[in-house]
Every structure is written in C-alpha cells, then in structure tokens.
C-alpha cells in the first residue's frame, strides 16, 4: 500500500472540511425548517422548564386565526404566571408585579441576520452540526448542535421533531457543554397548519441601517454582536423615553436600555436563569444591559457604551 503523502493528507483534510460544511449546511436548513414550523403550525402542549433548582411545568399553545398568530404560556405550578402574545404585542403576568405589556415590534426579519443569508456569519462564531437522534415526548427527533467558538455566547441543542420540525426540546449550553437551561415538551398535539398564511411582520424590501441614538456611541462590542435594532420606549421618566438597542450575532442577542434623567436602576450584576443583566450610571444616565449571554458578555457590552459628550471631553 502506497504511503499517504502530504498531498493526500491535505486532500483528506479538504474532504473532511467539505463534509463538515455540507453537514452544517444541512443542519442550518433544518433549523430554518424549525423556524418556519414555529410560525406556521398550530400546536398545544405541556412544557417542562428546568434551570438549576427551578422546575416549572407550563402549558403552551399556538393558534392562528385569520392569519394572525396567537401564543400563550401558562405556568401550571407555583404562583400564577402567564404570557400571551398576539399581533398587538406581549402581555406578561408575573408574581407580585403589575402586568407587563410590550408592543409588538415593527421589525422585519430582513433587519436581522437570519439563516437565509447569514450562514457565513453564523459559522464565524458557531459550529452548527447534527448530533444524532433522540426521542422526546414519545416522538423521534433529530438533534442539532450549535456550538459556540468562544465563551462570549451560549451553545444550543435543538431536538427537532422529525415529522414536523418543531423543537421538542431546547438545551442552552455553557462553555463546558453543560446544560444551563432546558425546555422540553412532555406532550404535544400538532393541530396542523392554518388555512390562511401567517403574517411574519410588515413588508420591507429595504434593509435600514441601524445606528445608536444621538449622543451615544458603541465601541468594542464583543465579537460578532452588531447593532440590529434601535427603538424608543416608555421608561420610568414620563418625559424622556427610554432608548432600547438590540445587538445580535445572528443567534444570541443582548439589549441595551438607556434612560435619561435620574431614573434609578440596576447597579452591578444580576441574574435570572440563563439571562444576565448589569447596570451602571454612565454620564448621568442609567444604562442597563440584559441578554441570554454569559455575564462577561453583558459586562463587555456595558463597558462599550459611551456618551458622546463625555467622549468628546477626553
């Protein structure tokens, strides 16, 4: 048998890389099918949420009525907690708090790096790879892994129903490949597709460049996290709106909230489940960063928020 020279080894490496790329492309396509299924299919089921010693059972439902998607989540144990989302917005009822109502954002998917046109970008920070198959809620599923290439973001394991592409289980993984947070269907009933197509948002053929609000700069954001949305919302101060900026690497996302005036807020870090938050006063304004990313990432984002006024003075 002839020895394999360096050229043979290089060819083998190329073949491996090609196979991996093809496998990744197939995995990305499966994830796109998952995204479509979540929008298109009507379903009901019971979810179990697990994070540390937090265990909750939830009832989830997704219905489409005349092309309008309606979703709901209801906690089945502990204090009453619920979330409902319609075309108008999200209403959330949590323990010991006033109901939270957030308007549905008029944002199209074209403002985001979705999977259609962002395979290269996603691959820059994640390795997308099939991880075999499993059985969840009595149904066969294909497991897709999204493995982060650094510790600035979490990884994911999606267990996709082989029949419908719905995610039957989602694991959020840390840098040590340990699950931080898990959501799993224990039972699911797929009610089929709506006869009317589901609206996915306002039509937009134009990608609008997004910039920070006047007077603010974002510098040295963590690798891959680009500004993808800016909006103004009602804040604690009834006179001044609260600036809301959204950063995303195509999968993970981080929000920056900037409040004018003397609004009080978070000073230091906080955590709930896999979500991390950090807050500080920046040039007389309350800045809060929150996202489902490691604590070091929200810290890095906060440090990159600068007031143009204070920057000009230095």
């Amino acid at each position: 048998m002839a020895a394999v020279g360096s050229s043979g080894a290089a060819e083998a490496s190329d073949d491996t890389a090609t196979a991996a790329a093809a496998s990744g492309a197939g995995a990305v396509e499966r994830l796109q099918q998952m995204s479509d299924a979540l929008n298109r299919l009507q379903y009901e089921g019971t979810l179990v949420y697990l994070h540390g010693d937090q265990l909750a059972a939830l009832r989830i439902a997704h219905h489409v009525d005349n092309g309008v998607s309606q979703e709901s989540l209801l906690a089945l144990n502990g204090p009453i907690r619920a979330v409902a989302r319609t075309e108008r917005g999200v209403t959330c009822v949590l323990p010991d708090a006033h109901p939270i109502m957030v308007e549905r954002k008029g944002v199209t998917r074209k403002l985001f790096r979705n999977f259609d046109g962002a395979l290269d970008h996603l691959d820059e920070h994640y390795l997308v790879h099939p991880l075999g198959s499993s059985r969840v809620a009595g149904r066969d599923s294909s497991v897709i892994g999204i493995i982060p290439r650094d510790r600035l973001r979490y990884g994911y394991r999606f267990y996709l129903d082989q029949a419908t592409s719905l995610p039957l289980k989602i694991d959020l993984m840390d840098g040590e490949a340990q699950p931080i947070e898990q959501v799993m269907f224990t039972d699911i009933t797929v009610l089929g597709e709506s006869s009317a197509p589901v609206a996915v948002g306002p039509d937009s053929e134009e990608v609008v460049p997004v910039t920070p609000p006047a007077g603010w700069l974002l510098r040295q954001m963590p690798a891959g996290f680009d500004l993808v949305m800016y909006d103004q919302e009602a804040g604690s101060d009834p006179v001044s709106p609260m600036h809301h900026l959204l950063l995303s690497d195509g999968l993970a996302s981080v929000s920056i909230y900037i409040e004018d005036g003397e609004a009080s807020g978070l000073d230091g870090p906080a955590r709930m489940g896999a979500a991390n938050a950090v807050g500080a006063r920046v040039d007389g304004h309350q800045v809060t960063v929150v996202g489902e990313v490691p604590a070091a990432t929200v810290e890095a984002v906060l440090h990159g928020v600068h007031s143009a006024t204070s920057t000009a003075q230095h």
Binding site: L31, V90, V102, L246, A270, M272
Partner: protein, 204 residues
C-alpha cells in the same frame, strides 16, 4: 383494676369479645398501666400454652415507644407538625393559596390521604400522650416559618426573581427582559418558546 375488667380483657385476648367491646377495652388498656400489665401476662400465658417462643424485648413496648415519642418531641419536630397542619388547612381552598381549578380535587385527596395515614402525637385531657389522627379544625394561623428552614415550601412567598436585586428592581428587569425577548424573537429561530424562561423562573 376490677374483676369485671379482667374478664373483659380475657375475652378480648381470646377473641371472644362482643361487638364494640374490644374497642372499649383497648381504650381502657391504653389508660391503665395495671390493665396493660394484665394484657401482657395474658399474652405470655398464651405463648407458653401454645409452645411459642417468648421475646423479652417486647415487654412494655407501648410504654417504651411512648417515652421515646415524648423524648423526641423537640421544638423543631413540633414546629414541623404545626407547619404540616397549616399546610393541610391551606389545601382546602381557603384564601391565600392559588390552586388551579383542576388541581383542587387532587389537593383535597392528598390532604385526606395525609390525614388518614398520618399519626401525630396529641395531648389528651388527662395529660398523657396518646397517638391519634391529625385533625384540622382551626383556621391557619399567620405564617411564621422563621427558624424552621421551611420558608421555601411556602407557595407564593415574596421572592425576587432576579438574584441580588430588590423586588421593585426585579419587576423593572422583568419588563426589560420581556421587551428584550420580544425584540429578539423577531429573528424567529426560537419563536415563543424562550418565554418559558421568563415564566418558568422564580419557582422552586
């Protein structure tokens, strides 16, 4: 102890007592050390007549168990007993506890099962301790679980969802997280399911 009591006790030991007599007799045995001694002798005599082995460890076992129970009734044990009574009282649907409608029947059945099979020491009018069934006949007193390490068992106790924040700040962060989730969900990959983390947290 009278001659009549010894005769009735002998009848019970020989399984020859009339309806209701055994229950009455056993109640008297429970209250009288003399009758308990007589009861033991009757059984020892029966063991001997039947050629059965006799184990000295079983002598006066009722008194020994009672002494152990009294010795073991430390404050924290009694505190837990009181906690269970309050827990049972709240499971009958009284205000203060949110129960899903479909779970009310299950909770009631559980409470009945605990009451039916639970044996919690009670102090009778004579001052001695007897073992009987727990009963819930009083409204649940104000909750005071400090020092028992059982506060986490209380459903609905105020608790900040975000670690290291006050409840007021936690509410503000919740609103920010919901706004963040809604903006991020427009990317569509995970849809509505990530809201499970918003709703699922804060419960043990």
């Amino acid at each position: 102890m009278t001659h009549e009591q010894r005769q009735r006790l002998s009848a019970v030991a020989d399984d020859a007592a009339g309806p209701g007599q055994a229950h009455t007799m056993l109640a008297e045995v429970e209250q009288s050390p003399a009758l308990r001694g007589c009861w033991e002798r009757y059984h020892l005599i029966g063991n001997v007549l039947r050629g059965e082995p006799i184990n000295g460890e079983y002598r006066a076992i009722a008194d020994r168990v009672r002494m152990v129970i009294e010795h073991e009734r430390r404050p924290e044990v009694q505190g837990f007993v009181d906690h269970v009574r309050r827990w049972l009282a709240r499971m009958d649907g009284r205000p203060g506890l949110l129960l899903p409608a479909y779970g009310g029947a299950a909770a009631a059945a559980l409470a009945l099962g605990i009451v039916s099979f639970g044996l919690i020491p009670q102090t009778d009018r004579g001052g001695s301790t007897t073992v009987g069934l727990a009963s819930v006949d009083e409204p649940a007193p104000a909750d005071d679980l400090s020092g028992l390490g059982l506060a986490s068992l209380t459903d609905g106790a105020p608790r900040s969802r975000w670690q290291a924040t006050s409840p007021a700040l936690s509410s503000k962060l919740d609103r920010m997280l919901v706004g963040h989730r809604e903006s991020a969900s427009a990317s569509g990959i995970k849809g509505f399911i990530p809201y499970a983390a918003v709703v699922g947290n804060g419960v043990r």
